[in-house]
């Protein structure tokens, strides 16, 4: 026996593991699968949900009277473990039957059908009958603009609570009551719209059942597509193309840009455009805004509006409005790419087509649930007509493609329509953490120094660490950059700034771990960071393959400024492409008021 390891046997395999290793971890390392429901560990995010609540992972340990929960039992020297004896299987089946005794048997119509952990474990255990019948909980489903909660399907694994409180530090969800009445809820059982929820959707990403799901708007899309009066336009966010293929058998991080475009055409969209175009536009505005603030500091030492904080992510914007309203002046006033696209489409493209804005239906395909909420904000509408009519997330697009029986893998690679399908590599990398600020630096550097960038890729801004920082040299002027992904990391970064410990000039925040590639609307990555890395690599690959890689070089963006917008951050650009924010610290269910 070695002092630094513990030797044990699991299913007749001998192994040695570091002290403190649980049976579950040891088994997993040896390739032995033990089913779990509540346990979830996301190594890179330092997230672990391990309440030991579900009891599905019980195993038999020789010499021990009771079965042991593998997730909570540490390995000891000489331990002999059996993971699938008749006694273990009988216990697991009983546990599962007890869980299912209070679970609605509506798998066929459940939004998680086919993607549900509970369903999968029940299937693996071969449950054919539920012998226990008792009282059933009755909760009224809560439909917020982005997230639907049906607590009748909750198994109290508390993954969502950990995601909301530990990773995101949003604190909207908590376990309330006790015993049979115990449930995960918001404060005072209010609906999510009345809570501190930022709609990041990370709770939906980790929920093992149909208790938490994204609000679906596929019917609205189908209705618009069937209406001959409507001109239906799609815009697709960069992260979607890295993950959509998952539902059609492609490896994680396979770029399916061309097939996605073809699929949207097959579905009946009149125009298929790229949100990346609007991302280039965002860089023109946000980059210029950053330079204006930086020059104001150069001129009179005024740092009131620095660091500039990115505003592309509606989950992050909502978080600042609710938790740090004192920082609202630091947020870039530039709208998110989704809303810039909608604004240009409804104001300009409608005019090009010679039709009323109401005849256009702008559908965004996003990796995100918060984008649905963003569409519902009143400042992004004109006379009650929203700039973006419907936002659907990646899983919904996959659903539409299956619904229409489109053979995705057989589709030819299509091209985006012009003019709003034209984008640079800078717009593409918006989808991953560090991408927005890298894109902004590519443009800001050249505008500030008047000289071309010596090195186009800012490798130091890339990576998956939760908080990163780097200094970029603007011809002798050091520009200090902070990056955070995940709202918990964002909170830590913001607290440093407020304490005066981090004198950044620009900060990029994305609410979801990994950035948009890990968004609440993406195919579930279940904490597998390798999946996120593959998706990020895919975006950097697409960027590297683009002939143009700086937003200000996008010819269609240049033309748009010549034709209508005049100049970045000018009066016209301000009216069309910028927005304002609201202090929602105390409850703040009241919405954002009419457009200025």
């Amino acid at each position: 026996m070695n002092g630094n390891t513990v030797g044990l046997t699991i299913d007749r395999k001998t192994m040695s593991v570091p002290p403190g290793t649980t049976i579950l971890e040891a088994a997993s390392a040896a390739g032995i699968r033990i089913p779990t429901l509540c346990h979830m560990k996301l190594e890179d995010l330092e997230y672990e949900n391990n309440p030991g609540a579900c009891r599905i992972c019980v195993v038999e340990v020789e010499g021990r009277r009771n079965l042991a929960p593998a997730c909570k039992t540490e390995c000891t020297e000489g331990m002999v473990v059996h993971t699938h004896t008749p006694r273990v299987m009988n216990a697991r089946r009983t546990v599962m039957e007890l869980i299912l005794s209070n679970h609605p048997a509506e798998c066929l119509t459940c939004s998680k059908n086919g993607y549900c952990d509970l369903q999968k474990v029940a299937h693996d255990l071969g449950i054919r009958e539920i012998r226990y019948r008792g009282e059933e909980s009755v909760f009224v489903p809560d439909r917020s603009p982005a997230i639907v909660r049906d607590m009748n399907k909750c198994i109290m694994c508390r993954r969502c609570e950990t995601a909301c409180n530990t990773i995101q530090t949003v604190g909207a969800l908590t376990a309330v009551n006790r015993g049979f009445r115990a449930v995960v809820a918001t404060a005072f059982g209010r609906d999510m719209a009345g809570s501190t929820c930022s709609y990041c959707g990370q709770c939906v990403s980790v929920c093992p059942t149909g208790a938490l799901s994204g609000r679906s708007h596929t019917d609205e899309v189908l209705k618009a597509l069937a209406d001959p009066e409507k001109i239906v336009i799609a815009q697709t966010a960069p992260a979607v193309r890295t993950a959509l293929g998952r539902d059609f058998g492609y490896e994680a991080g396979t770029l399916v840009t061309g097939k996605m475009v073809s699929a949207l055409r097959e579905l009946g969209f009149d125009y298929v455009f790229d949100t990346d175009f609007a991302a280039d536009l965002t860089i023109m505005e946000e980059g210029t805004e950053f330079l204006n603030r930086l020059r104001a500091e150069d001129a009179d030492g005024e740092r009131a509006k620095l660091p500039l904080m990115t505003s592309c992510c509606p989950g992050w914007v909502s978080f600042v409005e609710q938790h740090y309203p004192e920082l609202l002046p630091r947020l870039s006033t530039a709208r998110s790419p989704q809303q810039m696209f909608g604004s240009v489409a409804k104001r300009y493209f409608a005019r090009l087509l010679g039709v009323e804005r109401r005849r256009l239906v702008v559908v965004s395909v996003m990796p995100c649930l918060a984008k649905k909420y963003e569409c519902s904000r009143l400042e992004f509408a004109v006379d009650g007509n929203p700039d973006v009519d419907v936002s659907i997330y990646t899983r919904e697009l996959a659903r539409l493609i299956r619904y229409a029986n489109i053979d995705f893998r057989a589709l030819p690679d299509g091209e985006f329509d012009r003019p709003f399908g034209e984008s640079t590599g800078a717009g593409v990398i918006f989808g991953t953490t560090g991408g927005v600020i890298e894109a902004a630096m590519r443009t800001a550097y050249e505008l500030y120094t008047g000289r071309p960038l010596p090195e186009i890729e800012f490798v130091r801004l890339r990576g998956m660490e939760g908080i990163r920082s780097a200094t970029v040299d603007f011809d002798g002027k050091p520009v200090r950059i902070g990056i955070a992904h995940g709202l918990g990391n964002a909170r830590r970064l913001v607290e440093e700034v407020l304490a005066g410990k981090s004198p950044y000039d620009a900060i990029e925040v994305m609410a979801c771990p990994g950035g948009c590639i890990g968004g609440g609307g993406q195919p579930f990555h279940r904490g597998n960071m390798e999946v996120l890395r593959c998706r990020a690599d895919a975006l950097y690959r697409e960027d590297a393959g683009k002939p143009l890689r700086k937003s200000h070089e996008n010819p269609c963006v240049q033309e748009l400024y010549r034709e209508v917008l005049e100049e970045p951050c000018g009066p016209k650009a301000h009216e069309w492409l910028h927005t304002r924010y609201f202090d929602r610290k105390n409850g703040g269910t009241e919405d954002s008021g009419p457009e200025k």
Binding site: N165, V170, G171, A172, L173, T174, A175, V176, N177, R178, A185, T186, A187, F188, S195, T196, K585, N586
Partner: protein, 167 residues
Amino acid sequence: MEKEIRNESLPSCVREKVHDICREHGCDPGELIHILHALQRTFGYLPEAVQEAVAAELDIPVARVYGVVTFYSYFTMVPKGKYPVSVCLGTACYVRGAEAVLDEFRRQLEIGVGETTLDGLFSLDCLRCVGACGLAPVVSVGDRVYGRLTPEKVRGILSDYYRAAED
């Protein structure tokens, strides 16, 4: 830095009391349960606005405060009656007919468990074992404990309190 609490619905005296009690406990989130105990002793119950004020003082999500308040049966979000009635449903009391006694209180007071009568005189709760199993079934009203109760005795006990309230 003192956090400003902008809770419009809370009278300033209540707000100050919450502030003082939180300060007495060092505004430490780990003291949440003690703080809630002290506040319930002071106000008799823990309405939403008080929980929101506590969350702001301790700089923690209000959902967490609400989670604690709903977890422990001692905490209540509705004002208790002048004479809080608690029926013991511990094992000994239960097997000796506590449920029938509880039903009689429900019928007489016309309220459910966890509720308070409209005149504010009585509230009705259940608890598990007061350590007087020899007297089962046991009911406490305020600080007084009644043992060996039967449904027939309930009306008499209540009328004593109605008379006391009139005096």
